[in-house]
Symmetry: C2
Subunit: 217 residues, 2 copies
């Protein structure tokens, strides 16, 4: 009550600073969300910062002031997507259960993220769209995500909850199967993100082959 | 003997025409192979027809004369890769066995093609690099390949040699898992194309989960 009164009457200059910082962060997020949606929809090369600014009802210098040039805007979008993936990998470490249980939870979350705007941008952005400096940073962040996946696969191999013949190939195959929906998933399609994620993870876990019981049955 | 004598002495003008056509086809192939290797290595945007011509020791007008502009060159590279995939799908129809056997054979071949130069170009080329007319053609050809894969999956579902819950998602997951090596496979790596193809196909067929016999064992 007191602090809100301070804010309303503008008594505390510190309070103003906090409000401004929050406001600035909110605007920055709005720019990034608009930009990532336009990159995903029209392609990075075909989207200019003028287009992004126009969509938000501001001018290009405003976007520039918050984030820098188009390369910076893209890198920030990629950072958000990759941070979501790293956070998901860290979240599953708190799950009680086998390595297989943890991997399954992570893969479901991974698939959902990569069908969402920031995650989709991570999957669909070729390294060659970035400036050399941003490319180095993008690759560094992608390696973190690759390593998390390999750690989870290794743990499931170590506790023998999964059958893993080659960790590197397995991680590539899993990532490939799960990354593909980022290329074609549409919110307007017949299935939800979760349903598609579950179908792919079930396929990876159970395989296409019928079990010997099913075959003899 | 007679015809070769004709050729050597240049008696038959028809023979000359055939030789010239063959020679022309061979040069066209050499241009396409050089171009596709450079597109894969350096990226399409960063490769000019001048670069391709220089690599072959000719000038850009020579390349242009054989194939047209860079967009045409790319489209022809993509056509070769996609035709290899369609041919592989048609080949497996002659295999005696179940739908599962045919699908497995096709997937092994599919993975090997997409780790090779023309197939890799198919996987790594985003639609947005092509002119609108070429993009329509590229998508049309890709749909043919998608349909072949779905047909093979449907056949394996129909004869109950595989357990398929959703044909569309299954085909996307399979294609995703198999397309990924096109992004990272290097001839100099520790494994051959065939080994990687087998590891991924085994994973897709058997799944990561241990069977109940293995679990109890």
């Amino acid at each position: 009550m007191n602090s809100s009164a301070n804010h309303d009457t503008g008594i505390s200059p510190f309070r103003d600073e906090q409000v401004r910082a929050r406001e600035r962060a909110r605007k920055r997020e709005a720019i990034l969300l608009t930009a990532v949606c336009m990159f995903n929809k029209h392609g990075f090369s075909r989207t200019s910062l003028d287009d992004v600014a126009a969509e938000l009802g501001v001018t290009k210098p405003v976007v520039y002031n918050y984030l820098g040039n188009k390369d910076r805007v893209l890198l920030e979008c990629l950072r958000i997507g990759l941070e979501q993936l790293v956070a998901a990998a860290e979240d599953v470490l708190s799950i009680r259960g086998t390595g297989a249980d943890r991997l399954r939870s992570y893969l479901l979350r991974y698939a959902e993220i990569t069908m969402s705007e920031f995650g989709r941008c991570v999957i669909r952005t070729g390294d060659d769209l970035l400036s050399p400096a941003s490319r180095v940073e993008f690759r560094r962040m992608k390696r973190l995500v690759d390593n998390k996946l390999r750690e989870l696969i290794s743990a499931a191999a170590a506790d023998e909850s999964l059958r893993v013949c080659n960790i590197r190939t397995t991680s590539f195959a899993i990532a490939g199967a799960l990354n593909w929906p980022a290329q074609w998933y549409r919110e307007t399609g017949p299935e939800t993100k979760r349903q598609i994620a579950e179908q792919i993870v079930d396929l990876l876990f159970s395989g296409l082959e019928r079990s010997s019981t099913e075959k003899s049955g």
